[in-house]
Symmetry: C2
Subunit: 260 residues, 2 copies
Amino acid sequence: MLYSLNTGGKRIRPLLLIAVAGSYRPVNEAVYTLGAAVEMVHTYSLIHDDLPSMDNDDTRRGKPTNHKVYGEALAILAGDALLTESFSLIGNINEEELPPRDALYLNRRLAEASGATGMVGGQVADMEGENRDLTLEELEWIHRHKTAAMLAFAAEAGGVIGGAPPEDLSLLRPFAEEVGIAFQIKDDILDIEGNESAIGKPVGSDENNGKSTYPSLLTLSEAKRKLRSHMEKAEHMLRSLTVPAPDLFSVLSYIEDRDR
Amino acid sequence: MLYSLNTGGKRIRPLLLIAVAGSYRPVNEAVYTLGAAVEMVHTYSLIHDDLPSMDNDDTRRGKPTNHKVYGEALAILAGDALLTESFSLIGNINEEELPPRDALYLNRRLAEASGATGMVGGQVADMEGENRDLTLEELEWIHRHKTAAMLAFAAEAGGVIGGAPPEDLSLLRPFAEEVGIAFQIKDDILDIEGNESAIGKPVGSDENNGKSTYPSLLTLSEAKRKLRSHMEKAEHMLRSLTVPAPDLFSVLSYIEDRDR
């Protein structure tokens, strides 16, 4: 469990959660705990996605994947336990920091965002779409479920623990869904234009694997236009919040300008 | 997900949960929902345990295992989603039936009973103990974590949703841990004395697989004595409850006398 948690990565989900929460109140341990829970769910999904029966990846973030080090059985169980532990973490946050009704709501939303109606559903659709051409709608459905749902949860969770007013809470999920799609488009662009040592995998691997991507369905320049358009929607929603949220604008810039 | 849920089995965890809850108040939909959540976690664990990299079982309850029908990737994901959905189910129970603080407590306890500190931890120890002789203490540690922890959760959850008084709640977990060990001893005895068509696997398969069991460590007659001793402890705790609980005595008899 710790091996995969400690391999680093962009930590984009806790980053987003903390940036949202920090827009409303000083960030404290409870916020970090929630961020850890979200990262643990993400890490579990990477461990399982990398398994031989799924994407069969030998490296992740430049290090051997979990099953390469510990074997398949322990990798499956490490993923299972990380997922499980995330619910325990949320349930253990101090009641003054996160009232039981809010914690229970977040547990339920985390389950929805990560399970059959969210991330796992997206992974199933992703696998079933392999080796055939996807439509843009299918590609978007996959990314909304596989990636954007958990980002939306991260943003909403940050809002809930930060004590955001209802009008902001109702913006944070759609905001983060735009961020999620933008994030994925950027990933696809980096796979074409990126620097191999920065992104940690061979440039052009999507094309070589016959994967449908935004550039392959839209052309590279159209994909860039679409990335900007999702960013603009996200920026617009950020400006509509009741607080200034400069850290969230920084997260947006980071996602759009990153080289890995 | 439905394929494995619908293959039946003894449903011992929801049975226990419902029998506890029903000792305190009429059983309603919320109780069944909690029972379903517990059975989903159990079913996820069976799907993952049966995988080629774990126990590599082709049949379960007389039907092909999940990965034999749907492939390994979907089996892993079905398990993941069943585990996740269980937390969602508990989070969706009506507040009048289960106040948010209680629901959150049960979510946390479910995570502890099923994750690294419970069932998954037991499965890891079980795998690491393969192909060597275990001590009785090691065997008991495995079963306390792999089996008894979830039975203890089922009993406690039944008590919480049934509105059991604190003195009963503090008995229900140790009660169910005794039941869990007894359950496992009975399983080991059935593997020697059982009827092949009733238990759904070849008699003697533990011995042929070189597995440490209660009879192999203790002799068959000592294992039977130990089964009775755990049952007596469980019966004693049942008699100490503030309610009569005849259904729980029936569950005990069922576990001790079952032929599968």
